[in-house]
Amino acid sequence: MQTSTGTLSKRRRIFWLVPLIALALPLLTNPYTQFIANAMLIYTLVTLGFSVVIGNLGQLAFANTAFFGIGAYASAIASTNLGLPWLATVPLAGLAGAFGGFLASAAALRGIRLYYLAIVTMAFGELMRWFYTHTGVLTGGTDGLPVSRERDFGLALTSDTVQFYVFLIITCLLVAGTVNLLRSRIGRAIIAVRENEIATASLGIPTSQIIVTAFMWSGFIVGIAGAMFALHTGRVFPESFGLTQLIVNFAMVLVGGLGSVAGAVLGAVALTALPEYVRAFPGMEEIFFGVIVMVVLLVMPKGLASLLARVSPIFQQRYHRD
């Protein structure tokens, strides 16, 4: 068992081929497809962060959109009001998102679970949106808040291609970080909390700290994704962080495969691409989206990642219960 997982994790190095191949992508794109590819990277992080909480930690917490918005606004506010270059706002957005994660974890620590937690965290997200709308001095209110795309440290961030490489680096770092976190002692404790919280606590593992850590890490990466989104659209609006965004994020996690890193990537890529393919049928998007998600839930409950796992065992997630 030990050795086989050992060779498996060595073989997992093969995953570094994915970003390597992606390096060549801009050769094939026009600015439109590049823009969509950039969105895929952003949503990879959004999905991954969400998946850590609802997949790995197993908490039905819907504060993901809140983290996303907090990160985007932190970046835009730092850019507009403090005049910071965008790259400098990225860590701030991550920290702000992590703080959001901390607040959301407080609900879980109150002993709230399942749907009740879902509703409470959803309320958190909607209250944040109200805040963006009604504190115009800070957030620009409904007019939105621009993000400066001035040259950062020699990078021409106005270019979608440059954005792509910057996003690719950030995404790779955070995906690698998440994989390492999940494989660590903390990661195993996160899974243990999902499987049996009381038993985990009885082993002397501080479950509260584990829950807070998972939420904060989720908030951190989704917050950074928010900063990327702010740069990507050039202007942040409260409406971008509403319930529709939440539903889309949620679907990405499930379609990709709950609690799976590869699934998060697949889900984000698939559901970012989907609306672009159904552009030809305006107004039908909701139906397409709804039906596709229902079909995936019925015929492929473990998501797209389970297809990969069938092809090759290296896609098996060690920390995913089968």
Partner: protein, 391 residues
């Protein structure tokens, strides 16, 4: 070891970025017999009632094509959905510019989406006629390639406030609106105009989208006892608000936006007594069911027989008329620069549909500078210039 590929990526990225993209082509999207025009609108989502504007514009294009096109070219419209969402609109704009390679853009409801895509379009340099979104920031300060073909927020807000003040002895004005950019684009200029005339609103209330009850708002208004109410509310909420005013016996006149119209509001509310004190911005030459508008209604119904017509249906057509003028004037050897130059020459153009003429110049790209008001006079929707003064 692990980070090597990324460094490599950075280098490749910088190298690619340095080469830059090709300069905008003057004749992209043209063939000998077609002009490709991108039409963006909110065809999905909760603001999709706006996309009636783009439907009206599409009908207008088809009419032009049926009449033989312009200088031998027919208009090929590529519709793209923005869902009224900035990120989606940005993707739509990039698709139209870089993938469909349209000659120009025309359309756009939703100010937020239009503001978000503006930098992209400024960079791309192709002509864009904004045919529904009203925010002044889209065309002020003027950019070479962006033209506003509808009365903008400032014009609208001032027209609303001016009408309110034209009622004798208007001293107290209240505002009730949604918390969104659409409502603010009307209410903020109206506030500024009122302030310029020494009037501060006696009450500023919010009624959010989706609310099915306006009791709290109406009771507060009853206490404030205004002479006139400015209401920047969507169709459904307007109807609910007016009903609740009637319910609680408040018969203060209400000044609404161009987002609603009298005919459909009456239909939604159900009785004339409830809407008799409701006024709307009315940017057209005639009542929606008046003789001068019939030709346009027939045109839309010819191509879209099932389309229910509202105020939105007609709003983009005026800028379509102006565009056709400019395309004709630019001659058969069309280029983007020529079209923009011809658009800049349009002066006092009577579009036969907008009550305001259209004038563009290099210094001013907000083409339509006035809007009328409509209200019920003797139970009939009537276009008005001022309080009790028919147009």
């Amino acid at each position: 070891m692990k980070f090597k590929p990324k460094k490599l990526g950075l280098l490749v990225g910088l190298a690619l970025a340095a080469t830059g993209s090709a300069a905008a082509d003057e004749t992209t999207g043209l063939t000998d017999d077609s002009i490709k025009i991108g039409v963006m609108g909110p065809f999905s989502g909760n603001a999709s009632s706006y996309s009636k504007a783009e439907i009206g514009l599409m009908a207008f294009y088809q009419m032009i094509n049926d009449e033989g096109g312009i200088n031998g070219r027919k208009i090929v419209a590529v519709q793209e959905d923005t869902g009224c969402d900035p990120a989606k609109a940005l993707a739509a704009a990039k698709k139209l510019i870089h993938q469909d390679e349209v000659f120009m853009l025309h359309g756009n409801s939703c100010s937020g989406a239009a503001v978000a895509i503006k930098p992209e379009i400024v960079d791309a340099g192709l002509p864009w006629i904004v045919a529904h979104a009203v925010s002044d920031t889209i065309s002020v300060p003027p950019v070479e390639n962006i033209f506003h073909g509808v009365p903008t927020g400032n014009t609208n807000g001032e027209a609303m406030a001016a009408f309110v003040l034209s009622k004798p002895d208007t001293k107290k004005v209240a505002i009730v609106e949604h918390s969104n950019d659409w409502a603010h684009s009307y209410s903020n200029p109206a506030r500024a105009y009122l302030k310029g005339h020494g009037i501060e609103p006696v009450a500023e209330l919010v009624m959010e989208r989706g609310q099915t009850d306006a009791t709290a708002q109406v009771l507060k208004l009853r206490q404030a006892n205004p002479d006139f109410i400015i209401g920047a509310l969507y169709e459904a909420e307007t109807a609910i608000f007016l009903r609740d005013m009637k319910k609680y016996g408040l018969d203060t006149p209400v000044m609404g936006t161009a987002g609603t119209d009298l005919e459909n509001t009456l239909k939604r509310v159900g009785d004339l007594d409830t809407v008799k004190n409701y006024f709307v911005l009315h940017p057209y030459v005639d009542n929606l069911d008046g003789p001068l508008m019939k030709k346009w209604a027939d045109m839309i119904h010819k191509y879209y027989p099932d389309e229910e017509l509202t105020n939105f249906s007609y709003i983009s057509i005026g800028s379509g008329v102006a565009l056709v003028e400019a395309l004709k004037a630019a001659g058969p050897d069309l280029t983007r620069s020529k079209v923009m130059a011809e658009l800049d020459k349009i002066e006092n153009l009577d579009t036969g549909i907008l009550s305001s003429t259209i004038t563009w110049s290099p210094e001013e790209h907000r083409g339509a500078k006035s809007s009328a008001v409509a209200g019920f006079v003797d139970g009939q929707p009537t276009v008005l210039k001022a309080w009790n003064t028919p147009y």
